[in-house]
Symmetry: C2
Subunit: 458 residues, 2 copies
């Protein structure tokens, strides 16, 4: 429980109606899309960098854990106030401070939604490339904190590639400014990228200078249907080894396709056992030649057919239908976000199939194949303790396989609390200690999102 003196001062910082301590509100700010719940003792809404600073300083004074939070759409529990204390919601910091097409820049507060950035940029012919599937309702602050990706990362990169500078409040309560307003800048250390993806453990981002990208003049697409997963995996590697870069290259395995077929009969042919959805963008004259080059690259003896798609909405329909379906079927599915070099995808997908069979755990795999980023979904029944145990053992072996293939345990979802136990399998002890030391510099009392990203040292 938080001391009364603390709560009085907290309320005074943010003003009327911006401090909530009732049970229902605390519950509402205690979960994210990891489906775990750890209610905070209080929820506050800050509306300026200075308010955030005062909240941090107060928490520092009372040694109260402080978990910053956007819209709670993350899947790893990074925004859950696991140790109680204060949940600091940034959802009311939602001003777009500048739209500056001449410099290809948009400046905004962290509570602005990704979609609102797109809506503000589009009339000027620009977009902001990070496009997580939650784009319509996730916040820029959350995108920054997790270094969000999405299907278009294969061509456009991830969040860290599209930010020029930040304003943030460290765990000491210092307001810092990182980066600059220009597309080049090398004065001082790159704190911008250090904060991006740090999941609110180093500082709370209160303003971001985003780099905009011109909207492509034209977009096209194709689908490629495969007889088996092995030939599909080879096709992915072949596409990425030639120069015509797709703007999205999404993959669905047989289990994913079966789920879609069960709900949407007729959407997908029965014989397709692996599917690629490929988007190309660029100048109008470029689309046809890029699509042809990719069609040639993805042709192998397992290809049933590759077809140019004129209706892009149709191209994405199957992919978009999938995630909610998975949630319906297995609400407590174990959702992973592994990455391997694209040339190792054949080995990965074969290995995933073998592990699924050996541990008798249903598994649906799909995702951003062009980056080698596969969303693995172990479709477990949470009431079956024995199955859960098999799933955990299977997951453990999946991670071993990924690391053996030169991969990484997370491409875009992050670590949060869900993956922290595995971080030491990927990062060596010396480098990990250096990261902890950096955390100590930003947040000496360990009040900012404590316990996230790293497991407690042994």
């Amino acid at each position: 429980m938080l001391p009364a003196a603390f709560l009085t001062r907290l309320g005074a910082i943010v003003g009327d109606g911006k401090l909530l301590t009732d049970e229902a509100s605390c519950y509402a700010y205690g979960y994210d899309n990891s489906r775990k719940v750890f209610p905070p003792d209080a929820v506050v809404f800050a509306t300026s960098s200075e308010e955030v600073q005062q909240v941090v300083r107060l928490c520092d004074e009372f040694a109260v854990p402080l978990t910053p939070r956007g819209r709670g759409t993350g899947t790893t529990g990074a925004s859950i106030p696991e140790q109680g204390g204060v949940a600091l919601s940034l959802e009311r910091m939602r001003r777009i401070l500048a739209v500056d097409p001449a410099n290809r820049v948009l400046v905004c507060e962290p509570g602005v939604l990704n979609q609102e950035v797109q809506d503000a940029a589009r009339p000027h012919g620009f977009f902001w490339p990070p496009d997580p599937s939650s784009a319509a309702y996730c916040s820029v602050g959350g995108n920054l904190a997790t270094c969000a990706g999405g299907p278009h990362a294969v061509k456009y990169g991830v969040t860290r590639d599209h930010v020029l500078g930040l304003k943030a409040v460290t765990g000491k309560g210092d307001i810092i400014k990182t980066g600059c307003y220009t597309t080049k800048g090398v004065v001082g250390y790159d704190l911008t990228r250090l904060l991006i993806g740090s999941e609110g453990t180093l500082a709370i981002i209160t303003e971001a200078t985003l780099k905009l990208t011109p909207l492509p003049a034209a977009v096209g697409g194709l689908t490629a249907h495969y007889r088996d997963i092995a030939s599909c995996a080879r096709a992915i590697a072949a596409i990425m080894a030639q120069p015509a870069l797709p703007s999205a290259l999404e993959f669905l395995d047989q289990a994913s396709l079966d789920l879609i077929r069960a709900r949407h009969p007729g959407l997908l042919p029965q014989e397709t056992r692996a599917l690629l959805m490929i988007e190309v963008d660029g100048a109008p004259g470029e689309i046809a030649s890029s699509a042809q080059a990719i069609r040639a690259a993805c042709s192998n003896d397992g290809l049933i057919r590759a077809e140019i798609v004129s209706d892009l909405k149709a191209l994405w329909a199957a992919r978009k239908a999938l995630s909610p379906l998975l949630r319906d079927i297995a609400p407590k599915k174990i959702n992973e976000d592994i990455v391997v070099p694209v040339s190792r995808l054949p080995e990965l997908l074969q290995g995933l199939g073998e592990l699924s069979a050996r541990y008798r755990v249903a598994n649906a795999n799909f995702g951003h194949a062009g980056n080698g980023n596969i969303h693995v979904n172990l479709l477990v029944n949470p009431d079956d303790a024995e199955e859960l145990q098999r799933a955990e053992a299977c997951l453990d072996e999946i991670f071993t396989l990924v690391l053996r293939l030169d991969g990484t345990l997370s491409g875009e979802h992050g670590v949060g609390r869900e993956k922290r136990a595995f971080v030491a399998r990927e990062i060596d002890p010396v480098t990990l200690q250096l990261m902890r030391d950096i955390k100590q510099v930003f947040d000496p009392q360990n009040i900012l999102n404590p316990g996230k990203m790293f497991a407690d040292p042994q």
Copy 2:
């Protein structure tokens, strides 16, 4: 002077012929393109991460300054062993460890030349985008340490955008591994970008996993000649505000053009007072339409003519002739590397003209206009103390102007020793202290390139 015991052990680490202490060798490793000279007390050549580690640990034990060094082509003195001690040359770590076109990756040691990376990538249809003008003879390690840019950064970004992971030795002598082998990865803090641009003050990079980019299928170009600098500056902003992104957008002012005309009569028409050299790349069918869009954007009442250039070598001839010419004319020129948002270029260029007149200091400006990155060259006579004083005062006002226009003091050259006195004008004291604290974590004894990047605290 270094203790004999230290030198004996240093020699034992690197082996025969890899430790030099004679005056001539020390002199040769005591300067860079800043034209300042501070010879080290010893020069060593390491050939592996483990040797680098042992050298660092020895220097740590004896509290000897250690300055890592690539090919010494930097312009800010960042690789100069200003406080003596050991110059650690990485020029013999020149193995390309992997060329992996299927994953668009090249792994190499820091002593590999930028051009050697390009030569290894090109047969596979790829290139590595950083292209400083020293590309033929600068090292990848130096490119990483300075976050090098170049003319193509306007489309392709800078070094930090093209690196997946690093191996490095901290000032404590720890070998760390950052990043991953895949194009997505969010496990742990982004130490990769933190090291890039840190000028060897945090760690010594001993291996880099570089991200390759497909070579464009076609390249085209145009030149645009202007009656005056104001209309040229407006044209730059107009080009960057429309979606057809040039792959290079270089600018030369009248003083630069006059220098070229004096040496190469007939290369440039007499009436041109500002020139843009514009490159476009992409699919073959895209070049003509991009060039047309840019030609339309750059047309204003100050345009004399814009012409499509078929011979790209000719396009770059004038630009490439310039830097050596400037050195010939003013070997001690004060070379700066400022950046402003492109929309502020008209104000910057007008201000530079006014300051040049007020302080009676000849000034030639050229550079990467698409990034707002202008190389300012104050053409001073080093034997004229009074002129030097005027130049220093002028430079001070130039920096004030740049910061007033939301710019940064360096776009790609870095800070080193040449600009450290000005860093505190750009970065606030709190953020600067945080950077110093991070330095302390990596290098607690301050042995790595001491004194660089930051001026001594007051």
